[in-house]
């Protein structure tokens, strides 16, 4: 197999590379050496390196599986995510922060808990944190769903009916500049200590970014395209569904990117202000703080951060799938 792959490459040009690629699937390591010796396509390959055990062996011993496929694909010896220039700065900064944290924690245990204590708690009480995280996540998701849905529908209605835009927009702006936290106690009075006031707070927090972005998106249709639809005598509904809604998709997803982490912020803040139920990471943070249980407090924060990261990953994947046609995704390969 390796010999076959080499002889194909010997035929000369980069056109042989598909063969090399297929061969690499079966005989990865040997071929690795071959492609390594053909940096610029066109030069005939000297078969010698393939037969030398040296580089092939070293590839075998030092590189993870991902490296081989990356080598056969491109010029670089690493896929981008494994290149030191990608992961090294992050690693260094994380280590520096951890060291600084540990130093502060060892100096004064009321400033920061030791990282080991936080880690132990995360492992030991994982079920407790998970159930509290689920309680918070429920509030976040339901609140986000309501806030997003209401804002989207309203944005569509406002973009179609100018009178309603002038009627609603000022109210929405006032609602946006009002600190929602200040509204929460009133909501508790109105709706009790259950889930309702928390969901409402989250919905209000997530409402405005969606409203503004979707409104902008629905209007961001190039005039020539509108002209084409107009000469076809397309109905308003057809323009909305076939033109405005898809045009607004990048804006809608950009809003989601902002609003998904914001929904968790909303849920936690609501739990601070409107306690009552004994579950939720926000409630947990509040009681831990009252009891000076710093380790538990930071463990809860770690969970919140992790939830935010997962949500961002989720929205990135969705954007890649839905917005393959949009400028924002160009050049965002690998």
């Amino acid at each position: 197999m390796a010999a076959h792959g080499t002889s194909t490459a010997q035929d000369g040009t980069s056109a042989a590379s598909p063969h090399v690629y297929t061969a690499s699937a079966a005989h990865g390591h040997a071929v690795t050496a071959v492609t390594d010796t053909t940096p610029a396509g066109g030069t005939p390959v000297v078969p010698a390196p393939a037969e030398q055990p040296g580089p092939a062996l070293s590839a075998q011993t030092t590189s993870p599986a991902g490296r081989v496929s990356a080598t056969s694909r491109g010029r670089s010896r690493f896929p981008r995510s494994l290149r030191p220039s990608t992961w090294l700065p992050t690693t260094v900064s994380v280590v520096v922060v951890a060291l600084a944290w540990s130093w502060v924690a060892s100096e004064n245990k009321y400033l920061l808990p030791p990282l080991s204590a936080v880690g132990d708690l995360l492992v030991e009480d994982s079920a407790l944190f998970a159930s509290n995280a689920w309680a918070t996540l429920q509030i976040a998701i339901v609140g986000l769903g309501i806030g997003f849905g209401a804002a989207f529908v309203l944005a569509v209605v406002m973009s179609e009916i100018g009178v309603l835009r002038r009627a609603i927009m000022p109210l929405a702006i006032v609602l946006n500049v009002t600190p929602v936290v200040a509204l929460a106690p009133a909501l508790v009075v109105a709706f009790g200590f259950g889930m309702t006031p928390k969901v409402i707070v989250t919905a209000i927090i997530t409402f405005f970014p969606v409203l503004i972005n979707v409104t902008t998106g629905l209007r961001s249709v190039p005039v020539p395209v509108l002209h084409v639809f107009s000469t076809l005598h397309a109905s308003r509904l057809e323009v909305l569904l076939r033109l405005r809604m898809p045009s607004a998709l990048p804006f809608t997803l950009a809003a989601l990117r902002v609003v998904l982490p914001l929904s968790i912020v909303g849920a936690v803040v609501a739990e601070f202000v409107a306690p009552g139920s004994s579950s939720g990471l926000g409630t947990m943070i509040k009681t831990s703080a009252a009891n000076s249980q710093l380790a538990q407090l930071y463990a809860a924060i770690a969970w919140l951060a992790a939830m935010g990261v997962v949500m961002l990953l989720l929205i990135t994947v969705i954007e890649k799938r839905l917005l393959f046609w949009h400028e924002s995704q160009q050049g965002a390969t690998s």
Binding site: P222, P224, V225, L226, H227, V228, F229, S230, T231, L232, H233, A234, S235, R236, L237, E238, V239, R242, L243, P246, L249, F324, W325, H326, Q330
Partner: protein
């Protein structure tokens, strides 16, 4: 929903004066006036134009002569202050309602989330009522079927005609500017429109691509000799494509002269090298020079 997308210009619908005879075989523009709000000079002043069915007419002139405004008015996209436009006896709005107006704007105006094929099919997805009416009309008054024309009704053969078969499942973002504009042209021809309005469709392209697209457009038009109004800045383009070149002058926008292009058809690369073409080009250039010098001065109108 009863209300319509971009409200067609009020003037376009209402201004059809009763004394205008609706001509079923001509596009008739009579005494068209248009002044943009806030400007003192008329964008269009007493524009008269008669275009017989099946002719290819170019509008050319210095910027500000109102050629694009005139085109948009014919498309029902822009209102006007006075005068009338009829497209084979119908108002621009009626023509759009019947989906008999094809538009190729300067920018390709494709939907980036649809494939090339879906973009070409788009006109058949909206305003389906017009398609049903058309089918009914053709059942009652069968038009003699010709393979050349039927090819425009089929997306695959349409894509083949503009050499886009290989790109059918690609998205516009993956295409060059020339290919995108070919998609837009295929989309407009696929409508089998009674009138095709093209607003400087090649002006954003490089010279080689432009040359190739002109020839391709000539071939398409040879197969479906619909009426074309073609706005351009290029004398070469106007003469190569057209039966008539309408030279317009600016401030106010008026028709300066209508020049017949009596080059034989079908026109291929050989005709484009003929000395006759250069003679006509020189005539158009001289006329443009005159239109330029006329400027704001009153000019005798020459209506076609």
């Amino acid at each position: 929903m009863s209300a319509e997308a971009v409200a067609p210009a009020p003037g376009a619908a209402g201004a059809l004066a009763p004394h205008v005879v609706a001509d079923p075989d001509h596009i008739v523009v009579r005494g068209l006036h248009k002044t943009y709000p806030g400007t003192s000079v008329a964008a269009l002043s007493d524009v008269e134009l008669v275009v017989p069915r099946g002719t290819f007419v170019s509008l050319i002139g210095p910027s500000g002569c109102g050629k694009s405004t005139l085109l948009r008015a014919v498309a029902g996209l822009e209102g006007f202050d006075d005068g009338s436009i009829t497209i084979f006896g119908a108002t621009p709005e009626e023509a759009c309602t019947a989906k008999s107006v094809g538009l190729v704007p300067q920018a390709p105006a494709l939907l980036p989330w649809l494939t090339v094929r879906q973009n070409v099919e788009l006109p058949h997805k909206v305003n389906r009522r017009a398609d049903r009416r058309r089918a009914e009309r053709e059942r009652k008054h069968p038009v003699p079927s010709s393979p050349g024309l039927d090819a425009f009704a089929d997306v695959d053969s349409l894509l083949d005609m503009v050499n886009l078969t290989d790109a059918a499942d690609k998205h516009p973002g993956a295409l060059s500017g020339g290919m995108q504009q070919r998609v837009a042209i295929a989309r407009a021809f696929g409508l089998r429109p009674e009138i095709l309005l093209m607003d400087e469709p090649f002006s954003a392209l490089d010279e080689f691509t432009r040359e190739a697209l002109r020839l391709q457009l000539l071939t398409l038009w040879q197969r479906m000799r619909t009426t074309v109004l073609f706005v351009t800045h290029s004398v070469r383009e106007a003469v190569t494509l057209s039966d008539q070149v309408v030279v317009m002058s600016a401030r106010p926008g008026q028709v300066h002269e209508v020049i017949d292009v009596d080059l034989p058809r079908p026109r291929g690369a050989d005709v484009l090298l003929s000395p006759q073409l250069h003679t006509i080009e020189d005539r158009v250039r001289a006329s443009l020079q005159g239109a330029w010098e006329a400027g704001a001065a009153p000019v005798d109108l020459v209506a076609g």
